[in-house]
Amino acid sequence: MSDVTIPPSDSLAVLEKQRSTAETFGIPLAVLLEITHRCPLQCPYCSNPVELDRSGKELTTEEWKKVLGELAEIGVLQVHFSGGEPTARKDLVELVKHASDVGLYTNLITSAVLLTRDKLSELADAGLCHVQISFQGIEEGLSDRVAGYKGGHRKKLEVAKWTRELDLPLTVNAVMHRQNLHQLPDIVQMAVDLDADRLEVANVQYYGWALKNRAALMPTVAQLDECTAIVEEARERLKGTLAIDYVVPDYYALRPKKCMGGWGRQFFNISPAGKVLPCHAAESITGLEFESVRSNHSIAWIWQNSEAFNRYRGTGWMKEPCKSCEFREIDFGGCRCQAFALTGDAANTDPACALSPLHETIFKQAEREAEGETSRFLYRNFAGGTLESENGT
């Protein structure tokens, strides 16, 4: 039996064997649905774009139901209900029910703070298959400070318990950075104690909000090495009890990550306003027009034919040093959003790659930031961010 792993936000895999013709792109197995950007938490590394979609722009219940039906019809097998905070939408139970009715496997990616036991039970009855809860740390002080939300950590622990009581599988998602990496061993134990099936140890990826907060979040090289050692030890020790997925920050690597499994190859997500995007940060690349599910085009057409998906597909768009690089079909030049954010041109080599002319400068700067004094956060919100006060409130 072969396993196709679908990491949550990186390379969503296609089941089909890779075809020799590089232009054939099968419909992804799983699609990320960011049904709202509203969220009570204000995490400084939020993966949502800096310019958030306001609630007035969100797709309606009927529009989302139509999307779900269309996804099932074209061969998508799983959907991740995400956000923002997906439980901020009053119609979530109805959407999960509809997704189940059309045969989709449903994952809920949540901060958990808005859930009640009754609501979770309704979601389970509606056919929800799996719950993923984010944690910001191991104890209230740091966790609630990172999330910018008092009482959040305690609520998360409670919801995680309800999840297992309702016999739903649980994934603990822990986003790691300089200010919480010291808690990693305890986070692993917390996941075991919560009877989670999976733990995601996800180091912050520095786009959007996280890039604005890089000086407060960037780990040191020593911290990162320790983190990797902890994960490797825990994986071995907890085999059969807890599966651990590990996402490393690419700043200190010599080779860039195969972001999204390659642009437009294995993944798309749908934004609250209905834009079909090659990755959840894609809107940060200015000058690209993204088609909406509200347009006259089908989702399959947008995936296969739209300008935004085809712009960085394959290798034809590449410049040097990617163009003649032997790794060009292995990592596809890294992350387009990171290339754009750090170099101003998404077609440049991702500076995470040692072959990028900017690699040295940018990553020396990150290293300096990691050793620096800055620890204040710029909290994520609809007002463009709010700087944490001096005394950490």
Partner: protein, 103 residues
Amino acid sequence: MAGPRNISVSEASRPVLPRHAKLKYDETRKVWVILAPERVLAPDEIAVEVLQLCDGKRSVGDVSDQLAAKYAAPRDAILADVIVMLQDLADKGFLTEIREKTS
């Protein structure tokens, strides 16, 4: 369909897929799949046939009887293969079993 995890598969067990692992025929790709959290497994033909018989009522022994009769093959060999296949699935967390109720 609540059931225990970390099970040990034997001839007497009555396995069944837990609610979070769904066996489904993928019309688009023309293959059977098992959908699980963040994963899609591609079972081979034999695995699909075994899993379709694992309804929480039949024991592993019953399933092996049925397959031995259908393929006119030695039951012992089939039983051994079925246990290995199901245990692998159980170890990944995608199989549970029905146990006798005490009430």
